[in-house]
Homo-oligomer: 268 residues x 3
């Protein structure tokens, strides 16, 4: 017997306040069988773009039917709409502020529709203005996990907010991207992906890539320990992204790299 | 088929040591079906009052039958008693040091009885003196989640520790409270609640409240984004508490607010 | 009906990136019934020895059949082998870099065998070189939790990496050990255990132990609150380790103690 679909949570609530625990209590009060998985609650406060990247990176590793709740929601209680986004395999629930921009970007038939959550019978009875994670998003996720039809929660929306996601630019044989994430290890991850690199040259010829960050130049290695000399190196990480790293160290700290810094790849 | 009751955990153990994981292992060794939810493990070390507020804020959002374990326990291993608190809908397990003060405050019939945990057959076999979360509270929670009668765990207690919880003071048309919590967003939350405000004037006339913090005066807004100018604002948050905030910023940092600072509400 | 075995996770991934959540998604995609418990994700980056201690301290509190996944893995993608370690009661999955050194140390028949994970049909289809937690360790744990025979995952290994674990030294009536862990409370935990102390004198005569840290001398107390005067004290903690503490304070901060500092116990 399978458990009902997994519900994931991505927020900027941090792990000190009881907000995340309370959302889980609300879910379990509606569906005691729900399985709830934390993606992260340490999104930088109000950083919608960071959350959008985390949602896009994580959702594909969850089983079909997974319900992804994301709450980074400075506009809570105002005019911004609460949403349920339906794709071929997954659901996404959260505010209409661009959190799901990278979900919308996927080519059909992955992305199917966006529903404006308007049906209060699926909300907590007394809905306040500062915590829709508890009052709207958690209960809607719980009802959805119990099998409620998505269309019951509200009305289909044709317009919703899409943030502009910076893409690498190809000019001649040079691809210019930027650092978009610094991970827990100080690895600096760019928006250059295997898809763009494969447009330059087949990836089995990756020794032909010359990667540059400021005045530093690197080749693309196959695994971290391949360069244990402490200099900056490049790798295509397991998410298919070009990443700069230092073996057993923090590239960000050691080479003063940060999000927004340019990275170029040239064919040699 | 419902899972057995949820067990929640609230501690000051932090998230680096394996203490929380070990408590969960002990629970699952006794009841493999238990569902365990973290409320927070980042209570300030030994801050019993902070934990008492977190427990009171979170427990009501969990289903009937939920077992709330709280371990902020500087007196572990000494003479302080281990407790099981029974209310109409919930259970609370932890040391007798005031952690459940706000549970005791609730009006009957919510609060029913306090049991001193004296029956060692529900403890781990070798109980040490520094980690009763593992040796007493986790196993008692697990046995309770399996249906053991509360009275089997020990004897009813008539005296137990209640911390004094500061209440707002009404003088004429002015209610004086204080900041009791600063949340992850830097919002500063007071001990003034909708109940006290409703004694001043019906809440649908909230435009008549003048809120003061030091020399700053504010009206009560309806949602955060209503004041996007960067000045300090007040709101009644979704827990029914008067809260001071700055839209997309930290009120605590920007206006140097901290717990204990006075907040007044005057009728105008 | 029991759930399938518990899977525990111990990593240095931190709680900001989605890495831990992604591993859980992979597990649930293979075994939707799996129960997953976090031990910690705040192991110091690349500190294999710290993780080895955490694994040894926590695994014994989990039920028989528990699958412990540990990922502190600077050598990921290179020549280091992925392992499944089988003991009488538990499984351990992670890289061959010494993470399981304290598991190997246990006397037979606890430790049974080490299997080199070589069978790609239990891995994610496209295995990258930077995240074997997702691509190898999580799926192997999930398949194991579903009942796959350990021998199906690969071939038995006779050589694997064991880190040297510092032991206390007995010289005459003096046992010299060192601080190996500083916990969330600033308690400083040594590698001197009840077993070594019992070799000096039966533990019911613990008043005969004189504990020294630098120029400070202490007796061994029975519980933390026994010394509320703010001076450094010793206790045998609930893991059977000799620990130095300050009641309601941080011994590490107040007395400038750190891992590697010597602790001696002399019989008086």
């Amino acid at each position: 017997m399978l458990r009902t679909p997994v519900i994931t949570l991505t927020t900027d609530f941090g792990l000190k306040d009881p907000f995340v625990g309370i959302m889980k209590g609300v879910v379990l009060g509606i569906n005691p069988e729900a399985g709830i998985i934390d993606i992260t609650h340490n999104i930088e406060r109000q950083n919608i773009l960071e959350a959008a990247r985390v949602i896009a990176a994580s959702s594909k590793y969850f089983p079909a039917g997974t319900i992804n709740v994301a709450v980074v929601d400075p506009g809570v209680g105002g005019s911004r709409k609460p949403l349920l986004v339906v794709t071929k395999d997954h659901y996404f629930i959260g505010p209409d502020n661009g959190l799901f921009s990278m979900v919308y970007e996927r080519i059909e038939p992955d992305f199917l529709k966006v529903i404006h959550l308007t049906e209060p019978k699926y909300f907590l009875p007394s809905t306040g203005s500062t915590f829709h994670g508890r009052d709207i998003f958690a209960p809607v996720a719980a009802w959805l996990s119990k099998g409620t039809d998505p269309d019951n929660f509200g009305v289909k929306l044709d317009e919703y907010i899409k943030l502009s996601i910076t893409k690498p630019v190809l000019s001649g044989d040079t691809l210019t991207g930027e650092i978009v994430t610094v991970d827990n290890f100080g690895n600096t991850i760019s928006n250059i992906t295997v898809d763009e690199l494969a447009n330059l040259v087949p990836l089995d010829s990756r020794e032909r890539f010359k990667v540059s960050s400021g005045s530093r130049q690197m080749t693309v290695l196959n695994y971290y320990a391949e360069n244990d000399g402490g200099s900056l190196s490049a790798i295509i990480n397991s998410f298919g992204q070009l990443e700069l790293f230092v073996f057993r160290g923090s590239a960000a700290d050691k080479f003063n790299l940060k999000t927004g810094d340019k990275i170029t790849v040239t064919l040699v």
